[in-house]
Structure formats: structure tokens, C-alpha cells
Subunit: 316 residues, 2 copies
């Protein structure tokens, strides 16, 4: 992976750095920020870590997570260089109101934005964590166990632990080096996939009981009553739509969640060739080929009928 | 990984080979047999592939799977050298009644058996597929896409696709080379984890509805009536006990299956430190630290009470 020369120079010559994750941060964002911070500190730079939203409970095991700050004022006085990770606009990091003398962007998302004095955007990278891995090596910082754990987690989250189509041989080789540096594959997998709260598991079982399959479309739903009965909230439904995808005949899996204010939020995941963004757009929503969503005030029965119809059309 | 010299000599000097998988073969057995066969054929050797049991439907995607034979008579006339893969005694391959002029054993299971003229047993190997990978390289056979797919699958099955504690950096590096040789991580993951029959998924949902959790022990059960209602059989319950392990507080997950002839079969899986073989032994069964089982004629309620008691004891 080729790293822009001006990126390396900026990190070597500048400082201090305010490294920011996007709002609603995932494992790739949190892990990448923590690893880059540790690497820059190791080469003598001062860093501040910013996330508007708290680190989600699923990523509380990441070493260094307490380094995130919430108040920006004292940091801004130090006139830091901004580093956006896993996103490419200040809005995505809830930093649109601020000015920085210089800003660096490192991201693997496709973008229409041209923010940033120094930009490194690589759509082909499986995770921002992979890019940060190569960057840390180029900065000649020793990869510590803490960095390795953060980067291995970042890569795991964005590749489904090496199950998605972005899993290349380079991703596996980088991960091998991270294991040599101290990342523990089993411990990280247990933290990511086997630390569910009992109530969350019961919500999943309840949702699976609503499974309705027709024309290659699987729909599960969660009502407000189900949240109440289990003491859970929408935060607990992360990844639920992956479960119906286990069924071989399914091309589209949909999770419908009843909203507090009434109406439903639909999360669509495709398996294979169906473009679920096209389906979501028909309902006024949008997203990516493989993951999209929409909100609607229709009733459950009508939404499901419409989804099955859309599935029939997309199957042809 | 050091390969015994006499093993390489045997493969280079001998032939033909009868390569056998263990009964009730898993992905590591089937993938390893198919890959080794292809490699030996590539260096000019004749091979025959034997499995007493048919290749399970979950592994029908493996290239070359039709090369397995069921009738041994015609093969035995060719006086082949026996190669046992992923097991280390003729009994495990249902070959105890036959004599061979020479036999080779390649396995990663712990063993008390000393069968075989040439033995290569490596307890530390994550999968027999890893050993076969190094062997194919040592034989200087080019790793084809077919071999790569078989070996990557073998490794995936035995490491939970890089989630179990046997996932080392060498395993990841070997897998990276297999991807370079043509193995497709996403396609293999979909074949392994996302091709369930609808009826199997409904059986899982039914089983999860029986979830009973106490003292760190999670028990789910399947009755004969549940098999009938969904049109499934015990073959469809593969991996079911992994699901309750998603709950963080669980130390032992148990799947109880009602047997045709009455009574129950228990499959225990541990998470972390509990030795489930110790628990199974109390019920007259046995197994490994992390996976064990037993059969009993007790009724469901008594079995569950006894399992919860055992969980309480092991938690102390």
C-alpha cells in the first residue's frame, strides 16, 4: 500500500494532533484512532482523541479507550492539526463548526468530499485499520500489543473477521503481523461476538420468532413492546439482520424496528447480487449496495407486503 | 513446521495411495484428503480417496468431492499405501479389517495410538489442513485453486474461521498464501455459514426458544416432536450449541437432543476455563476440555438440574 509522502511528512513535522472518529463510531473508527494515537506518541508527538459519541459498550475492551475527550475547548487552544479517521468530512465527526490550521484525512470510504490539506483515501482498503497499520510501519513506530489489539479489532469489525469479500491476502498478512505483535484472535473474537447480555439474546430470540420468508426476502421485526419486555433498546439490535442471512435461499434480509414516535425503521442487508439501496430508495431511503435503510409510517403488514413485492422484482 | 524426512521420501518413492478420512468426516478431513490427493496426482502419483460416510451436504461445494469411493475391493487389488488424514487409527476410518503393506498417518489430534509406519502428528497444528499445506509445498507441487479452496476450508472449519485460540500468525500467513493461490474467503464463508436450509433455521429458532440459563450454564433442547414438525434430523443440529455461547455470562453451553430410541444425547461446549470433559465424565461420557458429551436415560428435568448443579460446582 503506497502512503503519500506528504502524509508522512505532515506526521513527522507537525503536532500536536487532534485525531477524530466519526459520530456513532464503530470498531474500525475507535481502533484506528487509538492505534494511530499510540504510534504518534511513541515517536514523540502529542495527540488528543475526540469522539462526539461515547465509545460503544461493545468496544470497551480496547486498550486506551479512556483517552477520548469530550470537551474540545482546552485542546483547541493548543492549535492542533486535525486528523480525520474513517471519515472524510468535519460534519461526519461533528467538527463542522471549528477551524484548524491544517487537516489530514485517512479513510477508505468512497467520497465526494475534498476536505483536507493532506488526503489519503483508499477505497480498496478493507478497513481504515489496515491503512493505519501500514502508516504505523512507515512511521517506524514499534507496533505494541495495544496498537496490535486495536488494529486487529478494527480489521475484524470491517471484514466480519475475514468473512467478507474485502478479505484479501494482504489483510490476512497484516493480521498475522498484528498477532505476532500481541493481538489475540480468540480473545478479540470473544469480546466482539460472545459477550452479549442475556436480555439482548432474548430480544434476538423474540425477533427470530417473527421471521417471515417469501420470494428470497426474510423479514424479522421488533416492536416497542418487545423492547419493554426484555429491557432493551434499539442499540441492542446491532447485527440482528445477519441471522436470517444464514438461510441459503435468502437474497435480502430486513430488520424492522418500531420507532418510539411510531412508524418503522427498516434495515436491509443483501446477500449476493441484489442492490438493496435500489429497494430502499423506493421507500424514500438509501444506502449502499449491500446495506441500506428507510423509515416509514406504514403499518407492519403493508411494509412486509411491499418488501416481498420488491424481492420478487429483484429476483427476476 | 518441520516435516519428517521419511514422510517426504514415502510420498516421493511409494504409490499408489489410498487416502482415508475419518468416519463422520468434517471439513478439515474432507478438505485435507482432497488437497493431498490433488497434490500427489500433480507429482505423478495415483491416489484413491476413501470415506466410509458420504461427504456431508455442508461440504458439497469442495472441488473434487466426487473422487471419494465407497467400494474398497477394486482398490485393495492395487496394493496401495494407506494414508490416514485427520485421525490416527484404522478404526477411526472404518478400515480396521484391512491390511496394508505400508501406512502413513498425518494428524493433529492428541493420540495414544502408535499405528503407522510413518507418522507425523503435530498437536499444535490448528488443522490437518495446515499440515497438508506445508506438505504440499515441501512436495513442490503447485498449489492450484482447487487445493487452495480445500485447504482454506479445512483451516476455516477447525479455527472457526480464525476465531478460536488455535489461530496463530502462521495460520493466517498460510491462509494468505492460499488466497493468493485462488481461495475465496467470502465465497467459502458463505458456503460454510450462509447456506442453511429454511427448515434447519426453524429448528434452531425452536431450540433457542427452549433456552434455560442458570449458574453460567445455558441449556437448549430438541425433542423428537421438533424434528418431525420441521422435517429435520440430528444432522441438522451441527453448531447449535455455539449460539447460547454468544451470551457473555455463559461458561458452558449444552445441547440436549432426544434420541430415536428414547433418552437424551448431551453435547457440551465450554467457553473459557471450564473443563466440560470433567462434567461429561460424571454422566458416563467424555471428550475434550472444550467439547464433550454423554448419553443418558434420565428425563429432561433431571438432566437439566444435574447440569446446573455441575455448573455451580465448576464456577467455584
Amino acid at each position: 500500500m503506497r502512503i503519500p509522502k506528504e502524509l508522512l511528512s505532515a506526521f513527522k513535522e507537525e503536532g500536536p494532533f487532534l485525531i477524530a472518529a466519526h459520530i456513532d463510531p464503530d470498531g474500525d473508527a475507535v481502533g484506528s484512532v487509538l492505534a494511530l494515537s499510540a504510534a504518534l506518541e511513541a515517536i514523540g508527538k502529542k495527540t488528543f482523541l475526540y469522539s462526539r459519541d461515547p465509545v460503544p459498550k461493545y468496544f470497551k475492551f480496547l486498550p486506551g479507550r479512556k483517552k477520548f475527550i469530550s470537551g474540545l475547548r482546552p485542546v483547541l487552544k493548543k492549535d492542533p492539526v486535525l486528523v480525520l479517521l474513517d471519515c472524510n468530512s468535519p460534519e461526519r465527526a461533528a467538527l463542522e463548526g471549528y477551524r484548524f490550521r491544517k487537516s489530514i484525512v485517512i479513510d477508505h470510504h468512497e467520497t465526494e468530499n475534498d476536505f483536507g490539506n493532506v488526503r489519503w483515501i483508499n477505497h480498496k482498503a478493507a478497513a481504515t485499520g489496515v491503512m493505519v497499520y501500514y502508516l504505523v510501519k512507515a512511521l517506524r513506530a514499534k507496533i505494541t500489543k495495544e496498537m496490535a489489539t486495536n488494529l486487529y479489532t478494527a480489521i475484524s469489525v470491517d471484514t466480519g473477521t475475514f468473512r467478507y469479500s474485502n478479505t484479501t491476502s494482504d489483510v490476512l498478512r497484516a493480521s498475522a503481523e498484528l498477532v505476532d505483535a500481541g493481538a489475540e484472535p480468540n480473545r478479540i473474537a470473544v469480546c466482539l461476538y460472545q459477550t452479549w447480555e442475556y436480555k439482548r439474546f432474548m430480544l434476538l430470540v423474540g425477533a427470530l420468532n417473527t421471521l417471515d420468508v417469501r420470494d428470497g426476502v426474510a423479514v424479522i421485526h421488533i416492536t416497542k413492546r418487545m423492547y419493554r419486555a426484555t429491557g432493551t433498546s434499539s442499540e441492542d439490535t446491532e447485527n440482528f439482520s445477519n441471522f436470517p442471512r444464514m438461510i441459503g435461499s435468502i437474497r435480502v434480509a430486513v430488520l424492522l424496528r418500531e420507532l418510539d414516535q411510531g412508524g418503522w425503521k427498516a434495515s436491509l442487508r443483501s446477500k449476493g447480487a441484489v442492490n438493496v439501496a435500489r429497494i430502499a430508495e423506493r421507500f424514500g431511503g438509501g444506502g449502499h449496495r449491500n446495506a441500506a435503510g428507510f423509515k416509514t409510517n406504514s403499518d407492519l403488514k403493508s411494509i412486509k407486503e411491499a418488501l416481498f413485492r420488491a424481492g420478487r422484482r429483484s429476483g427476476r
